[in-house]
């Protein structure tokens, strides 16, 4: 299948529903395995930090959730662009189903950051550029959720959300580079593309495993929610009726 064919096929929610069943389970199984290994490794095997002791271990939840909060938003931005330009049904479903996941990840990153910040910095919350831009991300997610509920007509709601999602992407580089552009209390990035991580392998390997585990969890969550959304929106079509009646399509 060429890329162009794949692109055309994506226009059909029915096709996506038929091929995606196994992907959901595969992502789910991978996520479970990676998260169990990464979490056990990070919490029980990895050495404590020389300054923070054991409280640094919150990094194994904080960093993956913060990365996923931003990745999920980037996916929504891309889906918003596809919806606005190509009017693809599936893009609107991605836009709608990613919001709760991204919102939870952002909230989790903010919460774990506050819990870590109290013993390490001495404050639950500081209004520096990193924490504030992350809070803006949470508000963007809440805004997207509210906007969809507020507009009764599905198509109009989809386009309005797409515009908000696409414009909100501007916030992502601000979050990423806030620690480099301004003086902040939040430290610089742990993982950089151009340098080796500023921690030894026995500390960053479990973190990497957990980041991959979070990505797989996102995959499983997205596929599962998308399949439900397809059934919900296409429930009037012949193929869904047939599927519900017990037939296989």
């Amino acid at each position: 299948m060429t890329l162009k064919e794949f692109w055309h096929r994506l226009g059909s929610p029915r096709w996506f529903y038929q091929i995606s069943g196994h992907f959901g389970w595969a992502f789910g199984a991978l996520a479970l395995g990676l998260l169990v290994i990464g979490t056990f490794w990070g919490l029980a095997v990895a050495p404590p930090d020389y300054q923070q002791g054991n409280s640094f271990r919150i990094i194994y939840v904080h960093v993956p959730s913060a990365i996923l909060a931003q990745s999920a938003y980037m996916l929504m931005g891309a889906a918003g662009l596809v919806l606005l330009v190509w009017r693809m049904k599936l893009a609107d479903m991605v836009l709608a189903t990613t919001v709760p996941f991204g919102m939870s990840m952002t909230a989790l990153a903010l919460f774990t950051g506050a819990v870590w910040g109290k013993p390490t910095w001495g404050a639950w919350w500081v209004w520096d550029a990193r924490t504030t831009s992350m809070l803006v991300l949470l508000f963007l997610y809440i805004g997207l959720y509210a906007l969809r509920q507020a507009v009764p007509r599905q198509e109009t709601a989809g386009r309005a959300c797409a515009v908000l999602a696409v414009v909100g992407v501007v916030n992502i580089p601000i979050i990423k580079y806030s620690v480099d552009w301004w003086l902040t209390l939040h430290q610089g990035a742990t993982f950089k593309l151009t340098e080796s991580p500023s921690m030894p392998p026995e500390m960053w390997l479990p973190l990497l495993v957990n980041v991959l585990g979070f990505y797989c969890f996102f995959g499983a969550n997205l596929v599962g929610r998308l399949r439900l959304e397809i059934l919900r929106r296409e429930h009037g079509t012949a193929w869904v009726q047939e599927l519900m009646a017990g037939g296989r399509t």
Binding site: D49, Y50, W121, G122, A129, V166, W182, L183, G188, P200
Partner: protein, 143 residues
């Protein structure tokens, strides 16, 4: 790509570029206000406001921490190790990570005498993480 889609794509790109440019201008205009704290050279150089609540930051100079004989009073010097340093006076409980050579952020007012009267002291952690035994090796002590 058909002309209709190309037009929509151009509109969306214009929208994103426009909002990015707007935000960039706002951020550049607010640049000084977006920094959470004043570094030592700005405090010493008179760029930081005097007798106004603000935050300043720096590294705790080795050997500069002096505790009062009675009470929780403590003074220390914050430096950037590049020639600028100022004294901080604080009364209260210091965060666990407070130590010499550590990055510290203080909130309070800069007095006219150049001494910073801190109301709150926060520890700034950097992105370096190390197991305790590696620190001993790094300091030449052996494991």
């Amino acid at each position: 790509m058909n002309p209709k889609r190309r037009n929509r794509l151009l509109i969306v790109l214009f929208l994103v570029a426009g909002s990015a440019a707007t935000l960039a201008l706002v951020l550049v205009a607010l640049n000084d206000n977006l920094n959470l704290f004043y570094p030592p050279d700005q405090v010493v150089g008179g760029e930081a406001p005097v007798n106004t609540p603000m935050r300043a930051g720096g590294m705790v100079l080795d050997g500069s921490v002096a505790r009062a004989d009675d009470g929780l009073g403590v003074t220390f010097i914050l430096t950037d190790y590049q020639g600028s340093a100022f004294t901080v006076a604080y009364s209260g409980i210091l965060p666990d990570l407070f130590r010499e050579g550590q990055g510290i952020l203080v909130q309070g007012k800069l007095g006219a005498d150049g001494v910073f009267q801190a109301r709150e002291v926060l520890a700034k952690h950097d992105e370096t993480y190390m197991p305790p035994e590696l620190v001993d090796i790094a300091r030449g002590g052996g494991p």
